[in-house]
Amino acid sequence: MKAVTKTVKRMRRSPFQNLAAVMITTLTFLVISVFSLVSFGSIKILKYFESAPQVIAFFKPGEDLTDVQITNIKAQLEKTGKLNDFRYVSTREAEAIYKEKNKDNPLLLELVDYNILPASIEISGNELSDLVELKGILEVQEGVDDVVFYEDVVSSLANWINSIKSIGVGIISYLTIESMLVILVIIGLQIASRKEEIEIQRLLGATSWFIKKPFVMTGVLYGVAGSFIAWGISYLMLLYSTPFLAGWLQDIPLLPVPWWFMLALLGGELLLGTLIGALGGLIATNRFLKE
């Protein structure tokens, strides 16, 4: 604690250097926060789509299947070994779902009843690639009116998410290196401006670590301050935009972001901030404090 107090006291002598270092690390960690939240959200969205029915076979409106027919279709699908989930939705159940979704619109409720709604079979496969075969089985069943197939939607979503992740990793790597270099240069300037003090410390018998420690601590404080400020800003941005995002995401259960995730993000960012700062400080001291 004493070392931190002393470091802060010394840092006050060069406010603009501190500001530059903290601002650049804040920017880096803000990008890291945003990409982490986007990644977390996109994984949840992908899981939502993957767990949702991927193939839906609609039967003729108003006509329900008998138990024998349902068992027969299920048996055919199970025989492939590729079926993950199977659900039969009767016309009555379809009506109930419709009424629940449109309970705020009496006009729509009046117009529709189970007689005009189709029964359906909703299935999901173990893998996205299994869906083509399962879809083929459903298409040839008696009374099938239409088959809706989500494979393309899910796979293109997965591709998008992978691209976002790759771009994110690239940008984060670039900014992380940039932050470390800025910390390194700023600490190098501080070492140069305190050359006389360092020389006196050496003459008085200071160890190498005694001389290096305040500079490494300065780097760590830059990293910690930048990561904490960025986390705070990203959390505030998230809280502010939650009502808008919730409306946009509709049924996807993504918001609010769980507290444990934000806490883990803070912990991870503080750790990375400490690492970036310490590494920048160590490289600077090794580079500029050669005996």
Binding site: Q201, R202, T207
Partner: protein
């Protein structure tokens, strides 16, 4: 005990700063190193603190061989062999107290120990009322006293001073040398490099005279008479 055994120091430009010098200093001795500018006094002082390494020969301080010593042992040596500088080497933005405390912070002393030891050291050099002053507020003699307080605060085995009175008036210089004698009487070995013959002769201590990098005389308790020595470097 300090032992210089046939020590030579050559610099890359060919200058021979000290040439095959040998001497032995017992624990608790007070020794003046005298000689004109360029005689090799400062080189001896720097060799004693391993600021530079000898080109040949050996330097022993107690059980430490300075030539063989690992780099990470140098701080330990410099705590045992502390130094006062002609230009004081004080930090201008720190107070007198903080400048002296620095030597204790380096060895990792606790706050309360630092408080007591710095107070004691400042008392010993007569600056106990000026702990909160900044160097710019002190006279030359007082600045050197701060340097001495910083050098003795860790109770070193050897105190070396390179031209400590070079920037001072005769009265302050005399006071500083008296202070060195007091420190010596408390058991510390004191080595003072100077070119002030008058001052040396007042104290009747051992005098090692250097000229052109060689020991030209080693008087145990005598006066030193400066011959017409021309300060000149020789190259091998």
């Amino acid at each position: 005990m300090i032992v210089f055994q046939s020590v030579t120091k050559n610099f890359p430009d060919g200058t021979v700063a000290v040439d095959e010098i040998s001497f032995q200093i017992e624990k608790g001795e007070f020794v003046f190193f005298i000689g004109p500018s360029g005689a090799g006094k400062t080189t001896v002082m720097r060799l004693l603190r391993r600021e530079i390494l000898p080109s040949s020969g050996s330097i022993l301080i107690e059980d430490m061989d300075l030539k063989e010593m690992a780099q990470d042992e140098v701080p330990i040596l410099r705590r045992k062999v502390s130094m006062c500088f002609q230009d004081f080497k004080l930090l201008s933005e720190r107070t007198v107290f903080e400048n002296v405390a620095l030597a204790l912070e380096i060895v990792g002393e606790k706050e309360e120990v630092i408080e007591n030891k710095v107070g004691e050291a400042l008392q010993n050099v007569g600056l106990n009322k000026k702990g909160n002053f900044f160097p710019i507020q002190l006279s030359g003699g007082e600045l050197q006293r701060v340097g001495i307080a910083r050098a003795i605060v860790n109770k070193p085995e050897v105190l070396i001073a390179d031209e400590p009175t070079g920037n001072l008036d005769p009265k302050s210089a005399l006071e500083i040398n008296k202070l060195f004698k007091e420190i010596n009487l408390s058991g510390t070995t004191v080595l003072v490099a100077t070119h002030n013959v008058e001052m040396v002769n007042k104290f009747k201590e051992r005098v090692i005279a250097l000229d052109n990098g060689r020991v030209v005389s080693d008087e145990k308790q005598g006066e030193y008479k400066m011959n017409k020595i021309k300060p000149k470097r020789h190259k091998k």
